[in-house]
């Protein structure tokens, strides 16, 4: 069930530019999976870029780490590079490692593989074995990982100390912010790419959750699980946790302001003592499993402040919440907690309904990138189409709720943008209705009585 694409790391809206490119790039009209397959079959192919407009790719013999090559933003392309060339950690014993580390763990410079001095050896570079330059490699599958002969005549060889992917980036709290490159589960199964729907269909489309960094097939924790996990490429096992080493320094949530007297954003940093729901039901203690059993055990979520029975938001919900002491009411929010002034980034402001807004905001309030207006010609048509540039938030249909845009999330056709009114919230002009006519709605037969079963 694994596809060739699993061996590649994607960089969205990017292209690889070689200073002296010449005519090496021939465009092939293929789907992205076929491009990956073709590149994997060629020994001198290290990456390919995919033209999203023409649906074609170019197979490339270099990566971002090669000489004279740079990564450049280009919304028409996605670049796929073989992980072995760009990943800074090793899988297993690192036999497939093709990175560019060229010093040993004790700082000695590696000897070029093509040279036999100062140390004579039996390894000669070939197209297959990847013994390029003086980079650390593991041609003999040494259990200690990649190594090299050193330029110090007194030290024949040394290991390079490149960390395994499960150790290269450590785990803070429950790893919601883990951005490492581990792509194997704790049982060794390979992860399914987040941007694929097979072998397991799922809701975690990377386009829909840009803030969760659902990159390639790397372990992530987008749903506040106990630790990072992934869907597996094994059709019989949907998902599994990944085994990542824990950080040794103090565990704390990244990018969350701890605050006690109000809640900001979604209230993940709320550490106040509110302990009843909005309607006054006392909260259940987090360390108790009655009346409701649950997974949010305080010892498993050390950074989430699950003390006593206080309202908390350990799972990225809309606001602080708790399990209630009412057996019939499992969960309820604590909206009685005052909301702090919000922290929406400054993207300018709009007057009136925002019909004249001309700013550069181009993401929805959920952070989903807007689609270009030009791509949506089949949707509603707007007379004031002149202002519909690029993918900027606009209000061409006089929507009373402000600038909006079509989104790149297939489940959210359009959404509003996080732009504030310039003069504070405008007054809503309510009016008496004239000539109300209703058609086939709001009718009921009030003579019917409730009958017993």
């Amino acid at each position: 069930q694994r596809g060739a694409l699993n061996d590649y790391q994607r960089s969205k809206a990017t292209e690889l530019v070689h200073l002296y490119e010449g005519n090496v790039k021939e465009e092939m009209k293929e789907c992205v999976h076929s491009c990956a397959k073709k590149c994997s079959e060629l020994l001198d192919c290290r990456s390919f870029d995919y033209n999203l407009k023409s649906h074609s790719c170019r197979l490339l013999p270099w990566t971002q780490n090669s000489a004279h090559v740079t990564l450049q933003k280009n919304i028409n392309y996605d670049v796929y590079q073989k992980k072995d060339y760009v990943r800074e950690c090793i899988v297993g014993d690192g036999t497939s490692y093709r990175g560019m580390v060229s010093t040993t763990q004790h700082g000695k410079t590696c000897q070029h593989w093509r040279l036999k001095f100062p140390h004579d050896h039996r390894y000669s570079p070939t197209v297959q074995n990847g013994l390029d330059e003086n980079y650390c490699r593991n041609p003999d599958s040494d259990a200690r990982g990649p190594w090299c002969y050193t330029t110090d005549k007194n030290t024949r060889y040394q290991k390079c100390g490149i960390k395994k992917c499960e150790e290269a980036v450590c785990l803070n709290c429950n790893g919601e912010d883990y951005r490492g490159s581990l792509d194997r589960t704790e049982t060794g199964r390979e992860c399914q790419r987040w941007d694929l729907q097979y072998p397991h269909t799922h809701a975690f489309n990377p386009e829909k959750y840009p803030d969760k960094h659902l990159d390639d097939n790397y372990c992530r924790n987008p749903d506040s699980s106990e630790k990072p996990w992934c869907y597996t490429t094994d059709p019989s096992v949907e998902k599994e946790y990944c085994n990542i080493v824990k950080c040794t320094e103090k565990q704390r949530l990244q990018g969350v302001t701890v605050i006690s007297n109000c809640f900001a954003g979604k209230g993940e940093g709320y550490r106040g003592k509110a302990a009843v729901t909005t309607s006054g039901i006392p909260c259940q203690r987090w360390d108790s499993q009655t009346p409701h059993t649950h997974r949010f055990l305080p010892e498993k979520y050390p950074c989430k402040g699950l003390e006593e029975n206080y309202c908390r938001n350990p799972d990225g919900s809309e606001a602080p919440w708790c399990f209630t002491t009412d057996p019939n009411m499992r969960i309820a929010y604590c909206f009685q907690i005052r909301r702090c002034p919000d922290d929406i980034p400054d993207t300018g402001c709009f007057s009136g309904n925002g019909e004249t807004y001309n700013g550069n905001a181009n993401k929805t309030r959920k952070g989903i990138p807007c689609r270009k207006w030009s791509e949506m010609s089949n949707e509603l048509t707007f007379p004031a189409a002149d202002s519909l540039q690029e993918n900027y938030c606009r209000n061409p249909d006089h929507d009373s709720h402000g600038p909006w845009c079509y989104t790149s999330d297939p489940n959210t056709p359009f959404d509003y943008c996080p732009i504030k009114p310039c003069d504070g919230e405008p007054a809503i002009n309510l009016k008496e209705a004239e000539n109300i006519v209703f058609d086939s709605c709001g009718k009921r037969n009030d003579r019917r009585e409730v009958k017993g079963r």
């Binding site: 829909k208 909005t278 039901i281 919900s317 809309e318 929507d399 709720h401 209705a433 209703f438 009718k443």
Partner: protein, 229 residues
């Protein structure tokens, strides 16, 4: 619903979780669209697979073979404009309208419900021991202007412009957990119109305190835009 009586509200939807348990209310505005409140869901991206909308029954726990009950999976959630607390839920397929299932009308854009208009809320939520736990309950209300509503509190504005308010009554009655997202329906020209959406308040149906709802007429353009797109 604290207080109130068993009643008939064919546009009131019971939202059910994966275990089939009722957790919130909603209002049927089109055969395949339900309006509810955002506070009923963990997020605007909530995974609603296994969740369903149930219409056509007045029982909290209808028999599985109840011929009138229609249960349709929820396929999509869309969050409303920032202040609205509204969500629209797309159903996997349209429900069938009949004597037990009906659409509620949407008000004209920015329409003000005249004070003293008779309205009602309906829901399957917590009764706090006031009886009729097993059936849909209805509580009647009278709408008041926001200006009058805000005189009830010296310290803060009870109802914002995008909210609608009903007269305080001297008895304990009103919405509670499980009723949120349900309709405040008002009778206009022989038709019931969705003028408000039940949102959480402090406590349940407190006596002598006005009830505040999201004012639907402020968001009608959004509701129709979502259905159109």
């Amino acid at each position: 619903m604290v207080g109130g009586m068993p009643g008939n509200s064919p546009w009131t939807v019971s939202l059910r979780n994966r275990d089939g348990n009722h957790f919130c209310g909603g209002s049927l505005v089109k055969e395949d669209w339900v309006v509810s409140t955002r506070q009923c869901f963990s997020s605007c991206d909530a995974d609603l697979s296994g969740y369903s909308a149930v219409v056509g029954t007045r029982y909290n726990k209808p028999n599985p073979d109840d011929p009138d009950k229609q249960s349709v999976p929820i396929s999509q959630i869309m969050c409303g404009p920032s202040d609205s607390s509204l969500v629209m839920l797309k159903l996997e397929r349209p429900v069938t309208l009949n004597s037990r299932v009906a659409l509620i009308c949407l008000p004209p854009q920015r329409y003000i419900v005249p004070p003293d208009r008779n309205c009602e809320i309906a829901g399957f939520g917590d009764t706090r021991g006031t009886g009729h736990e097993t059936v849909l309950k209805v509580v009647s209300y009278t709408v008041i202007s926001n200006d009058e509503c805000n005189t009830y509190s010296k310290n803060r504005k009870l109802a914002q412009d995008y909210e609608i308010c009903t007269k305080a009554v001297p008895v304990t009655q009103g919405a509670c957990e499980g009723d949120y997202g349900g309709p405040l329906a008002c009778l206009t020209l022989d038709c019931w119109v969705l003028e408000g959406i039940i949102i959480p308040a402090r406590g349940c149906g407190k006596a002598n305190v006005p009830a505040v709802f999201t004012r639907v007429s402020v968001y009608v353009d959004w509701i129709t835009k979502v259905m159109k797109m």
